[in-house]
Amino acid sequence: MNNETNSATCACQTEAHVSGKKAKSGTPKMIVLGLVCVGIWYAIYSQLLPFSEWFSYALLGLSAESHLGSAVQFFVYDTPKVLMLLLIVVFFVGILRSFVTVDWTRRVLAGKKESVGNVLAALLGVVTPFCSCSAVPLFIGFMTAGVPLGVTFSFLISAPMVNEIALVLLYGLLGWKIAALYFVTGICVAIVAGWTMGRMKLENYVEDWVMAIRAGESGLSDQKMTWQQRFEYALDSVKDIVGRVWKYVVIGIAVGAGIHGYVPEGYLAGIMGDSSWWSVPLSVVIGIPMYTNAAGIIPIVEALLGKGAALGTVLAFMMSVIALSFPEMVILRKVLKPRLIAIFIGVVGCGILFVGYLFNAVI
């Protein structure tokens, strides 16, 4: 477990890079360049599997049936695969994020009715650039814009929980079905938990000074970015995010490769399997005080699954680690009274438990 609190606290810090000046329009050139890059990317990506087999079996002379051979091939295939997926996904999420600023999100959510607002907030939580050290300013921003409390919570839950790096890693290491499950259930927990909290009428448990604030006009709301600026912004976020997480990815895949090659299946089935009812709540309780970023938790997820733990139990563990982090609760304490924080943990925890039991029952 890497407790990189510093880097993890700001795992998603980028926001629209807004410079007042208008850049020259280089749009057609940028698009051609972009297409060429995607073409090259695809050409390399499609050769990764044959390359890894050639490298491990022909060049190193390892046997495909041996422990070492399958571990090496797994590592040589998966490391560039996941890193390349990360590059392209972070880039396109970066382009998307250059449109969806926190300020824009705040304005969109301000006029929405509760149920629609919960759904929209959960979806926007995925793409809006925001980091946990911004949780308090963002909370104030939403409150002062008149966004209902429950809708704000849908956003605050989905933003850390459904994360593009986690998606890429899950897709790369465990396949698209598990990635899709993670995405859909994460969104659902955010919607239902936020909606439930909205029904509970908890406005009195927000610290009084927050409600009294008169926020200023946003200084940057109306500046448009050119396409060139959006590309630059996306490239910046690639450099920033991939530059920070690549080492965890490599370590994680190395661990995964070892498990893939050596650990017998079914190893953990007894403790974390779907036969023991208490494994889901236990994994949530263990998950809450742990704090790591998505890149740090997925290798553990893979290790647990590889050893025979049940999918629901592991998903519940992962979600509690990512969505209910202790440091974020400490930050939110500045604007929320303890009782509201307790309710927040309780409601989200119940949602995660439900997801855990559901998947253990269905799969």
Binding site: V18, V102, C133, P137, L138, A215, G219
Partner: protein, 76 residues
């Protein structure tokens, strides 16, 4: 000139402050760099994402630590 760096104290906020101070030193101008960590005051700027930098009350960047180059551009 008054430069306000807004942020509760996360690593990105510290980076913003450092880059601003370096840019000010490099530009050789007279400027007061103030760290704002009070959320009420941050909200009064209409800033809902940190770090953020304002020069003479005008918000220049939100949610991102500006590079030294960015800051130098604003100081001109």
């Amino acid at each position: 000139m008054k430069i306000q760096v807004m942020g509760p104290g996360c690593p990105k906020c510290a980076e913003a402050e450092k880059n601003v101070k370096e840019a000010v030193a490099e530009a050789g101008i007279e400027a007061e760099v103030i760290k704002v960590s009070d959320f009420q005051e941050i909200a009064s700027f209409g800033v809902f994402s940190t770090p953020a930098v304002a020069i003479d009350g005008e918000v220049k960047v939100v949610g991102k630590a500006p590079s030294k180059k960015d800051v130098l551009k604003w100081l001109k």
